[in-house]
């Protein structure tokens, strides 16, 4: 409003009128802040922030948690003990502690509460909720990496008052556990990397009975103020009175949460000394490198919030919660990355502050450094935190994904282009779009159906008016190996004559309300119930619903989209379920909210596995897209960033958001290309396709009120430019697929931020608008601003970079400017890599299966290059039986030889069959960028091929060398070497 202050009142009111009129014309595009809580409106967040403020405001603060040294046991890699919490009333609360050390080098600190653990508490309102702190998050999130370390051992030379455990690879890690007050320091090579409870913010709200105090004696009118004053007075008296106002119930937006277990939050401060950058705690619309959250210029004043929500028209650069939650954070400094994983499924807030520690005047040569302090606050559940000590980014991400699982190796179609819209309105409409893509020679693999295909929003049905022949439609798609993805949401319409809801009710498989009867809420279909996928019976039932004979109209090329699984409940608090709802085994919704979305996807994934027979030749990998997610969701499919807008800032924000997903172990991520709400200009649409061609999950999508925007409708030159971007994606699919394979075995991101690729380059730690594709040195920086015709690209290392399209040569390190008119994507190739491509344009990725390969050898300063290729049938599980090929291509300048070696870990029963199938698939072309001048005039290379274990006789093929011209690299082409992609071979250059 400050803008208006200088204006006269009349103008102000006129402008306001204009604003009012404008808002009538176009729907106001703005997140409804009032629908979502701030920390101050969230009782436990507010209490813990106040606790922190109190603790940090006094130097005399003594954290009331101490580890009883006598209770400490260390046995086979696990330390146990009991922490005593001294309450404000001087009671002692016993908190069992476990510190586990895993073989992977990961440590885990778990704290429970004895009384609750034993069920020795009373619940209010005769609640049937479970009494324990939620201890099943690991059943959903953790799938491996928990082998207990055999090498971890207590160290004799622990200082007094501490216990020291030495563990990790080569015993380079240490955990120093301080007894009073309780705290842990994790060290690597003797240097402290992570500190727990160093600032004394550890807080586990213990169970207590509600004492109904007599009515307050205060006079009406001034009670608020007085209470505040009292609190202040008490606070300054060190013994701060606790704010009980939100202990027993809490209201927001007309909904009251009954809290039968009283206050039960857990909080801890985690410090990263010397680390200036932290990444992670996805999903948020903000920069990759997380901002401070306690106010100040350019900083947030709210903590990062993790409470999966259907945020309508979310805003940019905000710590506000979004659809998914990954409570995993990495801290990074020059050549060192460490991380923590806060395994808690309840609503969580994370405060971040950074402190600059100035140079110690007594120590010479050490400059100031920045320390990042974080404060993790969850509403309920265990305190359960995993510690990763790196030192490389991949070590941390690898350890985290070893625990929570690697991204599923998707079917190849799933990483090709998806065409979606809310909605393709009839089966004929779908067929028509399908034909149009072919007519305009634009490749695509998948067409999607949003909610309108159903009959009255009843999932597992088809609207008989608009989709009379779904099978015919699916068959047409299948003719060109295309797929259909149909939406299935967790809310089941409450309506008569709908067998699904009748079964759901009669089998009692839906989520219950606090009174333990079926919970009814409002979503797309109107009155609805929600499937409880925490229930094994519920999941089993869900599994059956997707059988071809049950979900009629589907066939093998139909896959599923799970939306609204936060869950989104239109009339619920913060557009989701009441926290006191009850799930399977009487866990409260508050306990497991953030995992809820994942359970649905898990059930859907299992359902898609179950609809085909395992022995079926075409037992294909499931594909499920989800909006809501948690740590571990990466095992089950793809995510997208939800309902974005057709606006430049949203295009820009999509890149840091996807990079953040990548370093959070969930790299199969995308944003709606074109923007969901609103109509993009043709320029924006074109630029968005150019960026989208680099999204791991690449889908165009649009809101029902927008104009159609399929690529062929854009008109020239836009359609042509968009088609080029799509064909670029398709040509590079071998590289993408290999990157996905890498992610599926190591958790590595698919598009990688600068810090990940260059962990020693301090200048690049904050960069989040450019990225590398896989391990190929392919560096892209899509244009995300209107009218921009050039792009500054940051090159981190002393290396040659070539423009992908014209071989223009740049030399790092430093920032270079790349021309980027509308038809050009700023896209460079770093020297030293070999990139596999398939250049023949086809209608869908499935039709490229037997196409030959082109290898692009990019020679940099060293003159050497290497790259890998992973390939399988792109759809089945045969790769688990060895049905794949995995090659390493390398060029050595010393011998001028390019060779292909086998990288396959082992052979299996399907290996032979697959290699036989690929026998005719050859390398049709080798392009060498930055080709040595010595090749000039040498018209031939000599190649030899392995056949049946023996080397064939060498033969000669043509080499075509082109000199460099005006800034562009020299290049050469080996004409049709004809070697098999799946076999060993060697090409000797002159």
């Amino acid at each position: 409003m400050s803008v208006f202050n200088s204006l006269s009142n009349r103008w102000t009111s006129f402008l306001l009128l204009c604003l009012a009129v404008c808002s009538l014309i176009t729907p106001a595009v703005m997140v409804k802040h009032e629908n979502f809580k701030t920390c101050a409106q969230s009782g436990f967040c507010n209490r813990n922030r106040a606790y922190a403020d109190n603790a940090l405001s006094t130097s005399k603060w003594a954290a009331p948690y101490s580890l009883d040294p006598a209770s400490v046991r260390f046995d086979k890699g696990v330390l146990t003990g009991t922490i005593s919490k001294k309450t404000t009333t001087n009671e002692i609360v016993r908190l069992p502690l476990t510190v586990a050390f895993y073989e992977s080098g990961t440590a885990r600190v778990t704290l429970d509460e004895e009384k609750r653990q034993k069920g020795d508490i009373e619940l209010r309102h005769a609640s049937k909720a479970k009494k324990q702190r939620y201890n099943e998050a690991e059943q959903w999130a953790i799938v491996g990496g928990t082998t207990i370390s055999t090498g971890a051992a207590t160290s004799k030379d622990a200082e007094k008052g501490t216990t020291k455990i030495v563990y990790g690879p080569a015993s380079k890690f240490e955990a120093v556990i301080r007894h009073v007050p309780f705290g842990v320091e994790f060290k690597r090579d003797g240097e402290t990397q992570i500190k727990l409870n160093d600032r004394g913010l550890l807080n586990m709200e213990h169970w207590r009975p509600k004492v109904d105090k007599p009515a307050p004696e205060k006079k009406e009118g001034d009670d608020e103020k007085k209470e505040g004053e009292e609190a202040m007075a008490a606070g300054s008296d060190k013994e701060m009175a606790e704010d009980e106002s939100t202990w027993w119930d809490e209201s927001f937006g007309g909904n009251t949460d009954s809290k039968p277990r009283g206050p039960e939050s857990v909080a801890l401060d985690i410090e990263f000394p010397g680390y200036e950058h932290v990444y992670g705690v996805a999903e948020h619309a903000g920069p990759l490198s997380l901002k401070e959250t306690r106010g100040g210029d350019g900083k947030y004043s709210e903590p990062y919030r993790l409470y999966n929500s259907d945020v309508f028209e979310y805003e940019m650069d905000s710590p506000m919660t979004l659809y998914g939650a990954i409570p995993f954070m990495q801290a990074h400094k020059k050549d060192s990355t460490v991380g923590v994983f806060w395994l808690n499924a309840a609503e969580t807030w994370v405060d971040i502050t950074k402190a600059t520690t100035s140079a110690n005047p007594l120590s010479f040569g050490i400059g100031s450094s920045v320390t990042t302090q974080t404060h993790w606050i969850s509403e309920a559940g265990l305190l359960d935190v995993f510690i990763f000590l790196g030192p490389k980014p991949q070590d941390v991400i690898g350890a985290y994904t070893e625990l929570t699982g690697y991204t599923q190796l998707p079917q190849q179609f799933a990483i090709a282009y998806h065409q979606c819209r809310w909605n393709y309105v009839t089966d004929e409409d779908v067929r028509d779009v399908d034909r149009k893509f072919d007519k305009y020679k634009i490749p695509y693999d998948v067409i999607w159906l949003d909610i309108e295909y159903t009959e009255g929003k009843k999932y597992f049905t088809w609207d008989p008016m608009t989709f009379p022949d779904p099978l015919g439609m699916n068959k047409q798609l299948d003719e060109h190996e295309r797929k259909l993805v149909a939406i299935i949401d967790p809310h089941i319409k409450n309506e008569g004559n709908y067998p699904i809801v009748e079964e759901l009710k009669s089998k009692d498989l839906a989520v219950h309300n606090k009174d333990d009867t079926i919970y009814e809420g409002w979503c797309w279909p109107g009155s609805s119930y929600w499937i409880d996928c925490f229930s094994p019976k519920g999941r089993e039932w869900w599994k059956g619903l997707f059988r071809y004979d049950k979900f009629k109209g589907t066939m093998k090329n139909v896959f599923i989209w799970n939306d609204m699984n936060e869950p989104s409940v239109f009339n619920g608090p913060e557009t989701t379920m009441p926290k006191d709802n009850l799930h399977h085994d009487h866990w409260e919704h508050r306990d497991l909210h953030n995992i809820n979305g994942m359970t649905l996807v898990n059930a859907t994934y299992d359902a898609l596995l179950a609809r085909d027979k395992v022995e079926d030749k075409h037992h294909v990998r499931p594909f499920v897209l989800t909006r809501s997610f948690y740590s571990g969701s990466q095992r089950l499919g793809a995510m997208w960033t939800g309902d974005n807008q057709a606006a430049w800032p949203h295009l820009e924000a999509s890149i840091p958001m996807l990079l953040s997903m990548g370093v959070s172990g969930f790299p199969f991520a995308g944003a709606d290309v074109g923007g969901f709400f609103g109509n993009p200009s043709k320029e924006l649409l074109t630029r968005w396709y150019q960026a989208g061609a680099f999204y791991p999950f690449f889908r165009g999508h649009a809101h029902i009120d927008t104009r159609r925007r399929e690529p062929y409708l854009a008109g020239e030159p836009y359609t042509e430019i968009i088609t080029q971007a799509l064909r670029l994606r398709y040509a590079l699919l071998p590289a993408w697929y290999t990157a996905f394979h890498e992610a599926s075995v190591s958790g590595a991101p698919i598009i990688r931020p600068n810090y990940y690729v260059h962990p020693g380059d301090e200048k690049g730690f904050g960069i989040d608008d450019q990225f590398y594709l896989g391990s190929y040195g392919l560096l892209a920086k899509p244009v995300t601003k209107e009218g921009q015709e050039g792009q500054d690209i940051y090159l981190a290392d002393k290396e040659k970079y070539y423009d992908y399209f014209d071989f223009w040569t740049y030399e790092g390190p430093g920032t270079v400017n790349v021309a980027a008119p509308l038809d050009t994507i700023p896209f460079l190739m770093q020297g030293g890599h070999i990139i596999p491509r398939r250049d023949r344009p086809r209608r869908s990725s499935g039709l490229m299966r037997y196409d030959p390969f082109t290898l692009v050898v990019v020679l940099g300063n060293s003159g050497d290059a290497e790259g890998t290729l992973y390939l399988d049938d792109g759809e089945s599980f045969d790769f688990q039986d060895g049905g794949y090929l995995h090659r390493r291509f390398s060029y050595a300048s010393s011998t001028s030889t390019l060779m292909s070696e086998d990288l396959a870990a082992s052979t299996g029963k399907k290996t032979k069959e697959y290699l036989k199938q690929m026998e005719k698939v050859r390398v049709e072309k080798v392009i060498i960028v930055g080709a040595p001048a010595a090749w000039k005039g040498k018209g031939e290379v000599e190649l030899s091929e392995e056949q049946g274990g023996k080397s064939s006789a060498a033969r000669k093929v043509a080499l075509d060398w082109h000199d460099k011209e005006e800034g562009k690299a020299a290049w050469a082409v080996v004409r049709d070497p004809g070697v098999q992609i799946g076999s060993g071979w060697k090409i000797a250059f002159p």
């Binding site: 309105v425 409409d429 634009i442 979503c523 399209f805 344009p841 082409v973």
Partner: protein, 546 residues
């Protein structure tokens, strides 16, 4: 295009568009792209990437041609023996899919990738095609006949209009003559009347007038009371309406759009439509002022009933004149009277004296003048009516009814089809309408504005019920009902030849922008030429064999 000759040399091959480039013939169809125009690979997909639709690098095998490359050949040539030869896009060659729709002999999958075998189906496909083609031709023939009928009908209708124009012309001439005569009559009567200082028809009977005044006063009172009551009712309705609109606009602003209640959404939508609609003239303050004035007392309005009631005694000016004349001897009186009349006429004619017989106060006009004028007005109206009618008919004649005026015969005829939950109707040269099957209000999808010609490029389905490709006549409809969150509805109705009028397809291309594909015999002959072209191309256009 004769390209076969380029492939005749047994030893070497020269790229068609780049004659400087020659290769040994072994590089022909060797699945490696050598020519920048792709002409060395007429039988493989090796050069399929040579297209402006593909990303390009200097090492494409196309030399430096880059994205400006155009392929020398239109595609892979399918001989389709037993059917019609055609070209398949290179991108579809050897991709493991039998593209029988274009290549019925399966020859484009000659490599058998992934074990695919595409048998030659040209016999059956060709047979089926010929059968359907026959039906199509027959249907086309029938359609042609129907069109002839329509054209004949249109001709008749046109003739009717032309005839009517002629008769209207004659009638109008007659009326105009009549008007001239009447004008003269009026002038004459007026001239006569102007000479009379005293009009003979000045009401003498004050009694009758008094009654009239009384009645008028009473009636005016009644009218005023009624007007006041109606105004009160209107004001209360207006304020209720404003209150309601206020409630609704608050509702619209404050409802949670995420809470996607269909009922609420519908209500908001309806409100949007309502709010966007032209609300008619704004209540003007002037009107209310008028009303205030009208309902004010008559005296304030300058009408003093008392002046007309009972004030019969006062002498009028004419009375005084008569009184003056009565003092003179009769002979002199006659002379003076005559002189005065002449003088008055002279003065009036020279503009010195106001013409009291002129002016709008018909009450003050002599009956003769009024009658004459009435006759004139009636005659003028008649002329106007004729002129309007004539203009309408002439406009109608000039209007674009398409080639041969054929749509004249279809105007306002309606055809409809069911799609989903709606029935869609198009009335030729009138409008398009969406009608919910479950009942409820009809939605105007646009009013006809004009005929256009647009270029379409669709596959013609086997039954021929589709647009095909080429130039087509389309009816453009605009300014239909306003759309929530969108434009006014509009519809493009694209027409193609068919035996009968029928709606083939309706799609909502964008929000509230519809496209209908409609068959009608009306466009057949026009289509006939180009359709024959299409068929001809299919049948015999592809002659170059490789």
């Amino acid at each position: 295009m004769k390209v076969a000759k380029f492939y005749k040399d047994a030893a070497s091959f020269t790229c068609i568009s780049n004659p400087s480039l020659s290769f040994p013939v072994s590089r022909l169809n060797d699945d490696y792209c050598d020519c920048p125009d792709g002409s060395d690979e007429p039988g493989t997909s090796a050069c399929a990437h040579l297209s402006p639709l593909s990303p390009h690098t200097p090492a494409d095998g196309a030399g430096a041609a880059g994205s400006n490359t155009t392929l020398a050949l239109p595609g892979f040539y399918c001989k389709n023996k037993g059917h019609i030869p055609t070209y398949v896009p290179f991108t579809s060659v050897n991709d493991g899919i039998c593209d029988y729709e274009v290549c019925c002999d399966g020859s484009e999958e000659w490599e058998g990738v992934g074990g695919v075998k595409c048998e030659d189906r040209c016999q059956s496909i060709g047979k089926e095609w010929r059968k359907q083609d026959e039906a199509r031709q027959k249907s086309l023939g029938n359609a042609g006949k129907k069109r002839k009928e329509l054209v004949a009908e249109a001709g008749r209708l046109r003739k009717q209009v032309e005839d009517r124009i002629q008769s209207l012309g004659t009638e109008m001439e007659g009326s105009e003559i009549k008007v001239k005569q009447l004008e003269q009559e009026v002038a004459e009567v007026e001239r006569k009347e102007k000479g009379k200082v005293v009009r003979g028809n000045v009401p003498k009977k004050a009694g009758k007038l008094g009654v009239l005044v009384g009645l008028a006063k009473q009636r005016t009172e009644e009218l005023r009371e009624t007007l006041e009551r109606v105004r009160g009712e209107r004001d209360s309705s207006t304020s209720r309406l404003q209150e309601l609109e206020g409630i609704l606009s608050t509702f619209k602003e404050e409802y949670n759009p995420n809470f996607n209640d269909e009922g609420v959404k519908r209500a908001v939508r309806a409100w949007e439509d309502y709010a966007a609609r032209d609300k008619g003239p704004e209540p003007e303050a002037a009107h209310d002022r008028d009303l205030d004035a009208i309902t004010g007392s008559d005296k304030d309005n300058g009408l003093d009933w008392e002046e007309y009631e009972g004030d019969d005694e006062s002498e009028s000016e004419t009375d005084k004149v008569y009184a003056f004349e009565s003092y003179l001897p009769p002979s002199l009186r006659g002379w003076v009277d005559q002189k005065l009349r002449d003088l008055r006429v002279t003065l009036v004619d020279s503009g010195i004296l106001a013409d009291t017989t002129a002016g709008s106060s018909s009450g003050g006009e002599s009956k003769a003048v009024t009658d004459a004028k009435n006759r004139l007005t009636a005659a003028e109206k008649e002329v106007e009516k004729h002129r309007k009618s004539l203009n309408e008919h002439q406009d109608d004649l000039a209007k674009d009814f398409g080639p041969d005026d054929v749509f004249r015969a279809l105007k306002d005829q309606c055809v409809s089809t069911d799609a989903g939950e709606y029935t869609y109707e198009v009335c030729f040269l009138s409008k398009t309408t969406q009608k919910p099957k479950k009942g409820g209000g009809h939605t105007n999808m646009g009013n006809f504005v004009r005929l256009e010609r647009i270029v379409v490029d669709d596959e013609l389905p086997p039954n021929g019920k589709g647009l095909g490709s080429g130039e087509r006549i389309a009816m453009k409809h605009e300014n239909g009902q306003h759309c929530w969150n969108g434009p006014n509805r509009s519809t493009m109705v694209v027409l193609a030849c068919s035996e009968s009028n029928e709606v083939w397809k309706i799609v909502e291309e964008e929000k509230c922008v519809y496209r209908m594909e409609v068959g009608t015999p009306a466009v057949c002959e026009v289509l006939g030429a180009s359709a024959a072209g299409v068929e001809g191309k299919k049948a015999g256009g592809v002659r170059d064999e490789l």
